[in-house]
Symmetry: D2
Subunit: 501 residues, 4 copies
């Protein structure tokens, strides 16, 4: 066990189990490139501000680039003894360039601001990936919508057949819902995308640093100014986890429907073999395992949110080591949500819808009762509450007699008891589920016209989101290119004063 870089004040070294307990390599290994980028930006700024010399900078950047290349080749392994990614990287510099040079990188910086700089760079990228996966799933639903504008299916409430709707209407409901997930992810992005670097331990620094410059080099859209708040707060992680937890709750809704719709009993869909699995004992089984795991892994993301909130409870202002536990739940949630969105998209895109069965159920089990009640209101001038009662009683009688709305004679007989006459043709038209969905008029309803209009609006909305994602990606890539070009200039021997940035 090597002497720790912070070890000057200590007379004994960390107990082995404590060292293991404190290290965060498993999580940190995801952020090596971010740590290098952040360090390069910091070093460049230090030199630009005259805090370290050109010679210092060149040495530091040389070895940081080396770490980057090694990592990309899979040759840079993080050591648990060095505790975290920061000390691992700085360790290379000190080992290779000596304290003389490498020992200057950490001037006017603390791990407290460094770790959240790295994390923010990392999370920024993850949120963009997730937004794109959400959009991909929306597009898959829009495809279904466009194909099935007039395909009737049963609309459910309380998992009971309620009213006929169209398959397009069902599919676009998820597009609508996921749109708000996009908004939440964007909001989270906005809070993540501010620069804490330069906050140092908690109070800022007496070195004349330039936080605007690192903000630019790292492509942040703004400065997280108040340094004590910056190093103490993890609401940017909590908010991201909230967005993911709600997204997962929405996907669990979809998963539940896939599980039930693919039962022998519902039989509304067949899931593709590629997204189902068999049983080790029962040869006939084809189980909706992807959907079930989506449902089950909702717990993982909820649990991650609860984990972080618990950790944050009653932690005083200022960095506390508890905060190291901010990343495991977020990393875990990100991984779960990304893999889920990806696989769910594949599952939805390969569903075989049973249109015939859908149409059968759309018209079965008295789903058009509301339309009959509305008919009484419009044509027979019965107040709605009364017509509701009449039709309710009609259904109860039909159920008792084992009949349906198609039994005109019974319907006619029962309605007559309430003094209502109805013609055979009228009844036939009302209970036709295809006509029923055409009859809807209200904005945002299941009528093909309305759904087609919504599809157009959703497409437009997706285009806006995609544009926003593209702009954010470009800002990041631009900053990365800027940093790289500065690094290249320095390594080629240019003086910092002569480099534009």
């Amino acid at each position: 066990m090597a002497k720790k870089l912070w070890g000057g004040r200590f007379r004994k070294e960390l107990e082995k189990s404590a060292e293991e307990y404190l290290q965060s390599i498993e999580v940190d290994k995801e952020m090596v490139l971010e740590d290098v980028w952040g360090s390069e930006a910091h070093a460049v700024m230090l030199c630009k501000q005259g805090i370290i010399a050109d010679r210092d900078l060149k040495e530091i950047l040389y070895w940081l680039e080396k770490v980057k290349r090694d990592f990309q080749k899979g040759k840079f392994k993080l050591s648990k003894e060095a505790e975290d990614v920061h000390m691992n990287v700085e360790g290379v510099l000190i080992r290779e360039a000596g304290k003389e040079y490498g020992g200057k990188l950490h001037t006017a910086r603390s791990r407290n601001d460094q770790v959240i700089t790295d994390a923010r760079l990392y999370i920024r990228r993850q949120i963009l990936d997730i937004e794109e996966l959400v959009i991909q799933l929306q597009k898959t639903f829009l495809d279904i919508g466009r194909k099935h504008l007039e395909t009737p299916m049963p609309g459910y409430t309380h998992t009971q057949d309620a009213q006929p709707i169209t398959l397009a209407y069902w599919a676009t409901a998820y597009v609508s819902l996921l749109m708000r997930d996009l908004s939440r992810l964007e909001n989270a992005y906005g809070i993540v995308d501010t620069n804490p670097l330069g906050s140092c331990a908690l109070a800022g620094t007496s070195f004349p640093i330039d936080r605007r410059l690192t903000t630019k080099l790292l492509g942040f859209s703004g400065l997280h100014k108040h340094s004590l708040d910056a190093i103490s707060s993890r609401d940017f992680i909590a908010e991201t986890l909230c967005a993911l937890a709600i997204n997962m709750s929405n996907l669990s809704k979809l998963a539940e429907e896939m599980v039930y719709w693919s039962t022998f009993e519902f039989n509304l869909i067949t899931l593709d073999d590629r997204y189902t699995a068999g049983s080790s004992i029962m040869p006939q089984k084809k189980n909706p395992c992807v959907a079930e795991l989506t449902r089950g892994r909702t717990g993982a993301v909820y649990g991650s949110l609860m984990q972080l909130l618990t950790t944050l409870k009653a932690i005083p202002m200022g960095y506390n080591r508890d905060l190291q536990e901010d990343k495991p739940p977020l990393w875990n949630a990100i991984k779960t949500v990304k893999s889920t969105l990806y696989v769910v998209n594949g599952m939805i895109g390969t569903i075989k819808f049973h249109e015939e069965r859908m149409e059968e159920l759309a018209g079965a089990n008295f789903t058009t009762a509301t339309e009959i009640a509305n008919y009484l209101v419009i044509e027979k001038k019965v107040p709605f509450r009364k017509s509701h009662e009449i039709v309710g009683n009609l259904v109860a009688t039909l159920v008792e007699e084992g009949k349906s709305f198609k039994d005109f004679d019974t319907v006619d007989r029962v309605l007559k008891m309430s003094g209502i006459g109805i013609s055979f043709n009228d009844l036939r038209d009302i209970i036709d589920s295809k006509k029923a969905v055409q009859a809807y008029k209200s904005e945002g309803s299941t009528s093909p016209k309305e759904v087609a209009a919504m599809i157009g609006e959703f497409e437009e909305s997706i285009r806006r989101h995609e544009k926003g994602i593209k702009q954010r990606r470009e800002r990041i890539e631009g900053a990365k290119r800027l940093t790289e070009s500065v690094v290249k200039s320095v390594l080629s021997g240019k003086k910092i004063k002569s480099i534009d940035m």
Copy 2:
């Protein structure tokens, strides 16, 4: 037990315990005025669209106004037998105006869209209240900041003395943090403030309703268009709960500090008698009970969030009765957060800060070690990592010898062993906490200049938020006045065609 308004299809009445299990009066009683408003807007729209007659509308509005007045006088009590607020209100109409008139109100409407219309109207108002309470607390912190720009105090990390900061810096950190709570509340407001009315059961309706008109009469800033999504989704509640949970986690941070700072051992503050309580057995006790309960009640809001997320897990699209359980956790969280913000604001505003003790601790326990290290970097050209080690070792030696940085001779002796010379005057200046906080230069640091600048920015930001709140309140009040004037016109006998809206 009266026959239910939905009871036509049923041959037996609800078992008593089931009726009790299903009712939601405790929560619904908060939304009576919202239910009336929503019903008035709906009825006006129905008439405007020719779905009900002028005479129907007049009867309906008359009795809705009666319910409103009775409720405001405390005379309208909700009955559990009627299940919920909607059936209670509609029940009055049917009882008083008869099914002939009252029975027409529910045309082209379902409780599915009605309940979330009511809830959104209610939550909208609550969020605005909470935003104002957050701002009030920010202002209290800004007052402290303005008074204590130069008051040194110890800055803590790991609850250990870290570096000298100012009291203003500490106070403004909370202002900065709470600013993001405001953003989250605003985002939540945006998702809450869309109109689901007209979605009916799940599919929209075949009546020619006008959803834009109810949107206007209820002051919503937009239409929640997709009807199936509208009646199925509760992400607007989940997002609000997320914002509240994070806010509460921030307040728990503050509460923890209040508990510890007011101990005999820390002794940084005295909490006012009015926000503390005694012991039934120990006569001397003065306990920080308000702060402790703030910390403890964080659990109530976290638990509410977890409650809702659990309820939402794997519920299929379409209204499901599970969703009735969306309001108890949110109501509970709102009540907890509002009372907490109010009482915490009082507690913070009446704190007596012990400036002398703060200054003492600001300079004690080696808090200026970083400044000594920085001094070695700047004046003695020692690389930071090396200077860190030298000062670390210096502190270890002083601790072992029971000394402090004020013991110039020892400091001098130890530094000399690393080949460093330091003058008495230099050391004295470095370890002076008042000078230390002045020496900070970085943007967003604890230096009085920086904190003063941030205070200005925070004030500006608060003004912007206050303006936004005012505009939102005005939109709501405007819509309320519009509805009221339409109601008045109708009750005075005007035809709907002749009323502008």
Copy 3:
């Protein structure tokens, strides 16, 4: 606002909002009788130990009995200003008997030990109630089991038809599962049922109290000896909440099945009208609302557990005011679980099972595939993994051709391709679901013989539990009678020395 009983050390009174924030009347009002009982036991013990005089005791008991009677008549209302139940009750004594007498009750006692004494007395009773409700539900399932030992139904895994089972087997699975809920409740009871009274504030007392005597008078089965642990710990509440959360998760499993089984598509059961509800707009709807709310309210109990765990996190040893928040979540969970168990029992007891449909599904969708595979193993000596593959392929072919196991020719043709011959009679017998369930042999399997045996064991186990509940109830009632008889003797003028206890 009256001067608080603990107010000697304070110069200002509680701010109104703080007073409201601190009070716990809503929760405490459930424990008035427990508070009186605990106080009577304490006072009797104080007198027995010579700490207060006979005259003091008589006055104290007189007024405590008065409180009890008033409360039972609904005439004792708790005031929020008095903060909690303890101060409300002591307040009566001081007001009525004067500090001279009433002021002696709180000798050698603190609210810290008093509140958990009250809570334990209260929870003890609630756990017993819940155990009885669980047993009632088990008995309802056993009734179903006894009636349907041979009724075939489809057994599901992954919500897909898996193998034929019997209705009795399904029903007894819940009996088996609920048995472990009983164990958890009993374990929790054991931890709840220890006496903390006499721990005082945290350190015990210098008064010569007798904690064994109050243990006896309050019917506790043991002493919670370590006083600091006693007043600091809330694991007895956490463990109770854990037992309730797991119980609720089990009930949510049942509720999910009820929701799906009662769909038109599954059609396995009809829920009784008395446990379902209608729609305000769709006249035909009969919704499984009780089952849905059971599923949804699972969130309330999970949330309560998370609430308490959050509150307990990182609270130092010693009473902290945060702990006041232990009761709201538990009370809420108890209320939810009790009402749910009661109403679910009614719902299950009134289900109409569709035996014909069950039998149809038990044999449909290739549920007997495993039996065919087993047949190949036994009769045709095919290794299981190979026979699994053969039958799997058989099913795939039948699905593609739209056929079932009943199509002997196809089955025969496909099996022949794997070199397997099967006779028509063998196949017919294997795929007969009634014969299939008879064929199971393993202990604990779905065979009628095994299920009948398990029913016998469950009945025996329930008898044991009922006996245990009875014994615990008798201990409580015995202690209550003892306390009452002592109180009566004192009030009738007897000296404490002369009273046996």
Copy 4:
């Protein structure tokens, strides 16, 4: 990608991302030895019952032993393509021994019963390890207790100095608290330690298996009889997680105290260098990082519990793939709790207690006020509530005048105003914290005599627990030896009939 062992019924192979989504290798790799043991027991039983032949058994056992040895040498790597540990192990048999032999292992077994058999074997062992770690920590506290029976320290409530206690009293409070953690772990063990093997998919089997024999070979203390319940239920995992979550909440209490006690301001203890860490920027820092992470990782265990409970919500009876998500949270919680208990034990065992400071604080800040109040009750016959008020007022006056109980003149003057006289000697004795702790008399109080007695009882209780652990370990080891000896006999060519078991 190889054809799955369950793939007969499928025409397409799993999509790559779905395969990745479904696999559980990360978690399963911990249970390889358990899977082998379970399979050996199962195979032996099959042969004993005549379901497979001696020759089959020998082949199966040969390759299972090979897997075991390979795994122990680190040469057996699980492949994700094979989905889980079961298919990986069975895959070896089929590859090496051919379907002819290897294909017979899975006769009368399903992964549904297999996976929970493995999990129970694994968890059993983990619980025993955790119980031992808890006991180790208790012993460390008992050591502190024995050494510090008379060391005074301040007892805190509301984090405010309350009454003098002893260090032994504080230390033993944790012993007392942890004792209930042991009980919970034992209860969980009891529920875990029942044998589900032989439940097969859900219904048992028509093969004549002997579940009692596998119960014996695997050392389970009982049979989980009802097969449908056995494969559906995860309450054994939920209960284990509950026990761990409560344990972690207790450790977070301790961690919070360590963090605060080691501040410069409290200064009650010094944590050993080996359990603390430094800052990358502030050279003087020595942070209580182990304690902070213990506090922070409480979130990980709470989150794990919430994860599982969420996953279990509303899953129907029967195995559902969601249940695969039962192990990640439990594994994670086990790992967290084990490492925490281990490192916390080291941290506590190396604390340096500052006895002088403890004594100073034990007597400071009016901690003996209750004793003065009690003195007035006993010696001056003042009713407690009145004496409380008198002493409260005394403290308020002393605070205002900046004085303490040691200022006899002031104390005397103020008490006289209430008509109370007190002698200098009496006052001196009362406010002496060492005398105060001696004066406590009640059972379970902080008096050295009481604490010494409790230490004796705790030691006895620990011995009982250790004995219980030993017996459970012996049962497991005995069963393992039995299985191994049977395996050895079979491999050496013995017929199954001739082997005793």
